[in-house]
C-alpha cells in the first residue's frame, strides 16, 4: 500500500538524492580548499595573512550556518553579487566547514614532530618543499578522521538547502508529506537514507585514511576499513 503511494515519487526522490549528494560533494571539495588555505595561512609568520585568516575562521565559526546561508542568499545580491542557489549553497557550506577544517589542518600540521622540520632543514629543502614534501604528507592521515566528522556534519546540514529553494531529498519529502501525508513512512525512510549516506561517506574516508597510512609504511587491516566508527567526539570539529 505504502509502496504504491510511493511509486510515483521514486523519480523525484532520486533527483533529490542526486542534488543532496552533489551539493555535499561540491561543498566538501570547496571546504577542503578553504581549510588548507586558511589553515596554512594562520600558521605563517607574516601578520597580515595570519590575521585575515584568523578573522575569517572566527567569523564563520562564530555565526550560525543558516545565518550564513541566508546572508549569501538574501544579502549578497543587495551588493550586486547574484549567484544561483546551488552556488550559494556550495559557497556558504564551503566557507563554514572550511573554517572548521582550517583548525583541523592547523592542528595536524602542528602535530608533526619538530624533528621532521629539522630533518628537512638539514637537507636544505626550501620552506615550500618542507611543507609539501615532508610535513603535509605526514599530517594528512591525521586530518582524515576529523575531516570525516566534518563531512558527516556537512551532509547532516544539507537539508537546510531546501530553504533556499534547492530541490533536494528534503524538499521532495516535504512535498510528499504535503500531498500524500503518511509522515511516519516518509521521514523514517529519509532518516535511513541519510544514515546510509553517512556510512557510505565514512567508508570512503576510511579507504582514504588507509591509503594515506599505507604510504607512511603503516598498512591498515582491511577489516578496519568497513568498521563503522560513527562521528567521533572531536573538539576541533564542534566549537
Amino acid at each position: 500500500m505504502q509502496d504504491l503511494q510511493f511509486g510515483a515519487w521514486v523519480d523525484d526522490f532520486l533527483a533529490g538524492l542526486w542534488v543532496t549528494v552533489y551539493v555535499t560533494v561540491l561543498a566538501a571539495v570547496a571546504a577542503v580548499v578553504v581549510a588548507f588555505v586558511l589553515g596554512i595561512a594562520v600558521r605563517t609568520r607574516h601578520i597580515v595573512p595570519r590575521t585575515i585568516a584568523r578573522i575569517i575562521i572566527e567569523l564563520f565559526r562564530g555565526t550560525s550556518l543558516l545565518v550564513q546561508l541566508f546572508w549569501f542568499f538574501y544579502v549578497l545580491p543587495e551588493f550586486g553579487f547574484r549567484f544561483d542557489p546551488l552556488a550559494v549553497a556550495v559557497f556558504a557550506f564551503g566557507l563554514n566547514f572550511g573554517a572548521y577544517g582550517a583548525e583541523v589542518v592547523r592542528g595536524a600540521i602542528n602535530a608533526v614532530p619538530t624533528a621532521q622540520w629539522e630533518g628537512s632543514i638539514a637537507l636544505n629543502l626550501t620552506p615550500a618543499q618542507r611543507m609539501r614534501r615532508v610535513i603535509l604528507p605526514q599530517s594528512i592521515p591525521l586530518m582524515i578522521p576529523p575531516f570525516n566528522n566534518l563531512l558527516i556534519q556537512l551532509l547532516k546540514s544539507t537539508p537546510l538547502i531546501f530553504l533556499i529553494f534547492l530541490n533536494d531529498l528534503t524538499f521532495y519529502s516535504d512535498q510528499y508529506r504535503n500531498s500524500v501525508g503518511n509522515e511516519n513512512f516518509i521521514f523514517p525512510l529519509l532518516l535511513v537514507i541519510y544514515f546510509v549516506l553517512s556510512y557510505t561517506f565514512t567508508l570512503f574516508m576510511h579507504v582514504l585514511e588507509a591509503r594515506a597510512n599505507t604510504r607512511l609504511g603503516r598498512p591498515v587491516e582491511r577489516r578496519r576499513i568497513f568498521k563503522y566508527r560513527g562521528p567521533q567526539e572531536e573538539e576541533a570539529v564542534k566549537v
Partner: protein, 226 residues
C-alpha cells in the same frame, strides 16, 4: 552600490528589539532546555553503556550511532509531523517542544561519548580505592567517579552547548519563531529588506558565541594545567 546605500540604520534599529525578543524567548530558551535534556540523557546513556545494562546497552549504542549520523532537520520533521500521527501513542506537540526534544536527544548522543571519555579518564586506582573502602557502587559513581569525569570534560560539554546554540536556527524548518525565522520570514519577508536583519542576526550570534568559545578555551587550558 555601496554598503552605506544598502544599509538602512533606522530600519535596523527599528527591528533590533524584535530580533532580541525572539533571541531570548526561543533561541536562548531552546539552547538552555536542550542542553539540560542532553546533559541528563547523555549521562544516562553513558552509564547504561559503561555498566553494560543487558538489552538496554546495545539499544542505546544503536540509538546513539543512528541519531548522530542523521540530520537534525529530518529528525525535527519526524517528531513534529510524524509522531503525532502514530496511532495510539501520538499526540500533538508544539514546534518548540519538538525542537527542544530533538536538540536534546541529538546532543545527548554526543554528550554520551564525551561522558564516556571523561569516565575513562578517571584512573583505575580510583575505582580500586572505592572497592578497598567498600563504598557502594552508587556512591562510587556519585561521589568519586562522576565529579572527576565531568570536571575533565567540562570544556567539551561547553563546546557542545555552543554548537547547539548555533544550530537552534535549524528549528526554522518546523516554524519555531526563533531569531533567524523572525529575521527572514517575518521582518525580511514583509519589508523585502533582508540586509540589516540577517546581518544583525549573524552579529548577535557572534557576540554570544565568540566570548563563550574563548571562555571554553581558557577553561580547557586551566583544567589542562591543573
Amino acid at each position: 552600490m555601496t554598503v552605506f546605500q544598502t544599509w538602512d540604520m533606522d530600519f535596523a534599529l527599528e527591528h533590533l528589539p524584535e530580533l532580541l525578543d525572539a533571541f531570548v524567548q526561543f533561541t536562548l530558551v531552546a539552547t538552555v532546555l536542550g542542553s539540560i535534556l542532553a546533559a541528563v540523557l547523555g549521562l544516562l546513556f553513558a552509564i547504561i553503556r559503561r555498566v553494560r545494562v543487558p538489552v538496554l546497552a546495545p539499544v542505546v549504542t544503536v540509538i546513539v550511532e543512528f541519531v548522530r549520523s542523521t540530520p537534525i532537520p529530518i529528525q525535527l520533521f519526524f517528531v513534529f509531523y510524524g509522531f503525532p500521527t502514530i496511532p495510539g501513542i501520538g499526540f500533538n506537540i508544539s514546534a518548540m517542544t519538538a525542537g527542544v526534544l530533538v536538540l536534546g536527544v541529538h546532543y545527548a548522543c554526543y554528550y554520551a561519548e564525551v561522558y564516556r571519555a571523561g569516565i575513562e579518564s578517571v584512573p583505575k586506582g580510583q575505582w580500586e580505592a572505592c572497592t578497598a573502602l567498600s563504598i557502594a557502587p552508587r556512591y562510587q559513581w556519585q561521589r568519586v567517579v562522576l565529579p572527576q569525569a565531568i570536571r575533565n570534560v567540562l570544556p567539551s560539554l561547553g563546546n557542545y552547548v555552543i554548537s547547539m546554540f548555533k544550530e537552534t536556527p535549524f528549528l526554522y524548518v518546523i516554524g519555531v519563531t526563533e531569531m533567524v525565522t523572525v529575521a527572514v520570514t517575518q521582518i525580511g519577508g514583509d519589508a523585502f529588506r533582508y540586509t540589516e536583519v540577517v546581518t544583525l542576526a549573524g552579529l548577535i550570534f557572534l557576540a554570544a558565541s565568540y566570548p563563550a568559545a574563548v571562555a571554553m578555551r581558557k577553561l580547557e587550558m586551566r583544567l589542562g594545567h591543573a
